[in-house]
Symmetry: C2
Subunit: 388 residues, 2 copies
């Protein structure tokens, strides 16, 4: 509640406005509240509610429901009804991945209204990748008929350690990513706030919002791949860590006693590109068919994954581990992981597969944008901890 | 603020009482506030403050300062001054360790007023250990002249995973500890609340209170030994984990590819008892003297410690790592640990040695007792997250 204290003269007005807007937003769609309803729900006086509602109508955030929806006039003058205009603004959630750029659009209620995606080479340089991001967004805006000026916030999620200002401190998965002022670069193309987040962190938020973790507030999301990353929710809030690097457990192999990610699944001794998902899937298929070298490679892969996830579980003791990323869908991953964790962890967590699949990261980016707008409009706590 | 909402009819009175008590408690010792001061500081009306202060005097928590301290009467009648009676109650912090039982006593202001400690064999059974705990406490109470009935809360810290009700879910370091209803057993001997906590968690709280971590809210405390445990503060609050098992990183070796704790520092091939600190110190001394087998053993030990601490750091990304426990004091531990973490962690934390040393665990237990009393008396947030 820190931001609601202090010497701001318009504080009370802003709080009242947020309270009324929140009541309108959470009302059932079929039951637009009257002024009397709002007085009852908010505990504010009738003149205060009237003043606030007029202000919200002027701002375009609220509309008179009965008039707009052409409700038949009954006997006498019916009480005016009001509803929140979800359509008063739009949000974007963007995933910038190694192979794919994906974007989701939503209204101010968080309802997804459109999507776009485009393939990209893992080797594409940073400028080219950003060009594809902007082209994907332009395409989505055009197809949706939404003017760029109606965007209220943009969330972006990408591999790497992301600073509070949106700079990528370290990002080895994408060429030219380390040191890139990603937030600053993207802010040139939008007139609204741009929030940048690590991809596994965003996916954790997404699974909690509308995926496999809606029932738990203490969650580790593992983006399973050759070098796993993770995002954690503690008490329902994203745990970024002091420097935004929490969950970068894939670096444990750097301690030098284990194979590099490229060697782990190699069946030939030649390094395997960590992002070559098709090749990796082939190794798993070969192992299932009984190929001995592939079996050994899969065993190395699983041992690494179990070790990394066990380290996260022992450090954090979550209620639930959600496994996503391309490896989560391979048969022979989730079962063994669950069994090994149950065997070795002192208090084994539940282990489930991501429900959102490849939509998880963009969905999380969208949720971060929605959090930002809700903080502004409704003065409510977001699902995300305060940035430093 | 959860506990300040709801339909409690005495709610306002309790809040006002807490607000006044808090103002009295945080006043400088030399400047006991007058009623006018309290009205100014709290924003409450004068009659409300007067009523609350009378109630607090009746409860024994507040006393008129001027009268008690024999302040010389000046011209006219001086304003009455009041002070919080820190001496109105007492708290205990107890460490139940493998070798040692230690207890600290403090007043309601958290000022330590007495201590006691007793050696015990690592092999002592649970009943004998509990008898020594009670004898140590009785001795401390007697020497301090404090009647048992003046104890307001008792904090207890011990190795193992501790459930919310004070039962030890898993505790392999002490004989008979796993499954022991430690809280229930100790509550029979006290008429006040007894809080039980994991030892590394308590030590983390202690270093944040008055040790090496007072300046940071994002801290990992490592109890360095043959099987390291850890406690974490996130945003200044203890992170227990969903089942109280957060930080039990020593279990990583269970994954089966590493030596057991007993083998790590062995120079003979014979297992070394993990709690035989004298023997362990001798191995470090031999290594410094150039003994090759001891050097190899120390290298194995450091590799394990670095790996476990790195796993914690990668999972949590703390600002600060505080290293305590017996191994923290051995020369050749802190320097190499710091260097290896700086080399391998993506965002290396500061690494410092515990300031509280062997007092850390009991001090943390004391802080937990103080937190409990402050929550009741002052309705303030504690340093500890809500228990489930």
């Amino acid at each position: 509640m820190g931001r609601l204290t202090g010497g701001d003269p318009s504080l009370l007005r802003r709080i009242n406005s947020a309270v009324v807007l929140h009541a309108l937003r959470t009302a059932a769609p079929a039951a637009s509240p009257t002024l009397t309803d709002l007085v009852k729900v908010t505990g504010l006086s009738r003149p205060t509610v009237e003043g606030v509602v007029e202000g919200l109508i002027d701002a375009g955030l609220v509309v008179e429901a009965a008039a707009e929806e052409g409700e038949a006039r009954r006997q006498g003058r019916p009480a005016r009804r009001f509803r929140f205009r979800r359509e008063a603004g739009h949000l974007l959630g963007i995933e910038i991945g190694p192979h794919r750029i994906a974007a989701l659009m939503a209204d101010l209620g968080g309802r997804v209204t459109g999507s776009a995606a485009q393939e990209i080479a893992a080797t594409a340089p940073a400028d080219e990748r950003l060009d594809v991001v902007l082209a994907t967004v332009s395409d989505l805006l055009r197809r949706s008929g939404v003017p760029r000026g109606q965007l209220r916030a943009v969330g972006v999620a990408t591999p790497g350690i992301v600073e509070a200002d949106g700079t990528v401190r370290l990002g080895t998965a994408l060429p030219g990513w380390t040191g890139l002022p990603l937030g600053e670069r993207l802010r040139r193309s939008f007139r609204c706030p741009v929030l940048v987040e690590n991809d596994a962190n965003a996916a954790a938020v997404a699974e909690h919002w509308k995926g496999a973790a809606t029932a738990s507030d203490d969650v580790v999301f593992v983006l399973a791949g050759l070098s796993p990353g993770a995002g954690s929710l503690i008490g329902g809030r994203l745990h970024r860590g002091y420097g935004g690097a929490a969950g970068e457990i894939g670096a444990l192999h750097l301690l030098g006693r284990e194979a590099t990610p490229e060697e782990v699944l190699s069946t030939t001794g030649e390094p395997l590109h960590p992002l070559d998902e098709a090749q990796v899937a082939r190794v798993f298929a070969l192992a299932r068919a009984g190929d001995e070298r592939a079996e050994a490679a899969v065993e190395r892969f699983m041992r690494r994954l179990v070790h990394d996830v066990a380290a996260l579980v022992l450090a954090l003791d979550p209620e639930l581990v959600v496994v996503g990323g391309w490896a989560a869908g391979l048969s022979g991953v989730l079962g063994p992981l669950r069994a090994e964790l149950a065997r070795y962890c002192l208090r084994p967590p539940q282990v489930v597969q991501s429900l959102l699949g490849e939509a998880a990261v963009a969905t999380g980016a969208l949720r971060l944008a929605l959090d930002h707008v809700e903080e502004q409009l409704f003065a409510v706590e977001s699902t995300v901890t305060a940035r430093r």
